[in-house]
């Protein structure tokens, strides 16, 4: 069986082979085979468009998130919710709370699954105060102001507040671009793709269980010893966006252009003009048998017209 992998890793592999690391921006259209997010042990196959930015200096979070928003705006999908998350927040929180590393490894997947009964059972040996904070942290998602206030009232660790500020600033930037944006922050985010290391962006619609768009910042290392590369990107599920788009497809007309071999080139140019307007065009020669009922419109280009 051959699986079509996510192109992100192939691009990262390609970039790691470049002798000079520098800023590179890729746009991609790809066919992806990936673990189905709704039911375990299943895979899904979908077309995605997206971008990847590889860089060794600077910060491209704003630019990439802005492009993600623009893509969704162009697709004209109603009721989109944009979620910003940070996969390092929860591990940092658990470290700050001095949760032993063995337990941390057990707890993180439970946080991802929001499996509260098992999480509570796993934390039983931790001090009560730590248990309370971890339990509270499971609600650290929602509208930006609410969640930022909640965290700031509970935590004063600079590294955690740094992550909160990072997402808060990015949300402010995105809100300036589009004040109507429905934005939520999720500090419980744990990405299913392990290479994500920082910011994550996901777009949801209440009309679909699958995310419309998903992406984030990641570090890629070719080997343990090789230097890591930073990248950020996103992929947008094309079929899902088309399904939820409010753009009405224009009715396609079928046009016949009837010409002579001498005027073939002129007819082909004309055909191209009509095709770019969204029509289906057949170029036929005057000796061809034409069934007029097959066409909405017929255009004749012959010697007289020339």
């Amino acid at each position: 069986m051959v699986l079509q992998a996510d192109p992100t890793m192939s691009l990262a592999h390609y970039m790691s082979k470049q002798s000079e690391s520098s800023l590179r921006k890729f746009a991609m259209v790809s066919s992806v085979h990936r673990a189905y997010t709704l039911q375990s042990k299943r895979h899904e196959h979908f077309k995605q468009v997206g971008i990847e930015v590889f860089y060794d200096q600077g910060n491209y979070d704003e630019e990439v998130c802005e492009l993600a928003l623009k893509a969704l705006e162009l697709a004209q999908i109603k009721d989109v919710v944009i979620e910003l998350g940070h996969v390092m927040f929860m591990p940092s929180l658990l470290q700050t709370l001095r949760v032993p590393s063995v337990l941390l490894e057990q707890i993180l997947p439970l946080i991802q699954a929001k499996d509260m009964p098992l999480l509570e059972a796993s934390m039983i040996d931790l001090p009560l105060q730590v248990q309370i904070i971890i339990k509270k942290s499971m609600t650290w998602f929602g509208p930006v102001e609410d969640v930022v206030d909640k965290i700031k009232s509970e935590m004063n660790d600079p590294s955690l507040l740094g992550i909160v500020d990072e997402l808060n600033q990015l949300s402010n930037y995105l809100k300036q671009l589009n004040p109507k944006i429905n934005l939520i922050l999720d500090f419980t985010t744990q990405k299913s793709l392990s290479y994500y290391q920082g910011l994550t962006i996901t777009a949801y619609s209440p009309h679909s269980a699958q995310p419309l768009l998903s992406g984030g910042r990641y570090e890629y290392k070719e080997e343990e010893s090789s230097p890591s590369m930073t990248a950020i990107g996103f992929g947008l599920n094309v079929a899902l966006c088309a399904k939820l788009s409010t753009i009405q497809p224009t009715k396609m007309s079928t046009i016949a252009i009837i010409t002579t071999p001498e005027k073939k080139l002129q007819a082909l140019f004309k055909a191209n003009e009509y095709r770019t307007l969204g029509n289906r065009v057949h170029v036929l020669f005057d000796e061809d048998e034409v069934k007029t009922t097959d066409y909405d419109q017929m255009i004749v280009i012959d010697k007289e017209q020339a």
């Binding site: 709704l38 039911q39 699954a113 929001k114 509260m116 609600t139 949801y204």
Partner: protein, 205 residues
């Protein structure tokens, strides 16, 4: 509107009781009705009745936002849901039962409504078994020699006793769980909170 998936039976009755106690009422609801969808009087929620095994599917696919289901069903399901709370009712055990202990001189045959749980359990214990999936009346399987043993839920143990079956191992305990669709949990949080609180008896999760 929030959609709540319930499986007719004790878990649904208890779940509905809690919703009604919190003021989320369904005056159209009639236990004897064959209708499968009932809207709340304030039109903010609706309950849908589905098969117990389908509750995680409806919730994971976002058709329902919330569900009440037994842990036994969740363990058998492959739906991806957030398990918000142990509701502490509908307690039972998932057990290996039979007329006599499983044979050791050949591959035992196990009948169950829970083939995945059974497979995981026997694999984890290094016991090679053949599993036959049954939809109901699993206790019949050893009596009619379809299987050497069964994996099934045991509540009072009365059915087993009446059919001369014994419990040999308890695989796990089970109780009702409050589950929620991960996407709904994030984007419908405000609308979900009163329902979660109602089902979880005042505790927000």
């Amino acid at each position: 509107m929030i959609t709540i998936a319930l499986a007719k039976g004790r878990l649904a009755t208890k779940g509905l009781e809690r919703l009604i106690q919190s003021g989320i009422t369904f005056s159209e609801y009639d236990e004897k009705s064959r209708k499968l969808i009932f809207e709340s009087d304030d039109k903010q929620a609706r309950i849908v009745f589905v098969k117990a095994m389908d509750v995680p599917t409806y919730v994971s696919l976002g058709i329902a936002d919330v569900g009440i289901v037994g842990k036994d069903v969740l363990l058998e399901s492959d739906g991806v849901v957030n398990e918000l709370a142990d509701l502490k009712f509908g307690a039972c055990r998932l057990c290996v039962c039979g007329l006599k202990p499983l044979p050791t001189d050949r591959k035992p045959i196990i009948a169950s409504k829970y083939p995945r749980v059974s497979e995981r359990y026997f694999n984890a214990h290094g016991i090679d078994v053949d599993i036959i999936k049954l939809e109901g009346s699993v206790e019949l399987a050893p009596l009619l020699q379809l299987a050497d043993g069964i994996v099934d839920i045991v509540e009072s143990g009365l059915t087993l006793k009446e059919n001369n079956l014994n419990i040999y191992t308890t695989i796990t305990t089970s109780s009702a769980r409050l589950i929620v669709n991960p996407r709904s949990y994030k984007i419908k949080l405000k609308a979900l909170q009163p329902i979660i609180k109602a089902i979880h008896q005042g505790e927000s999760v």
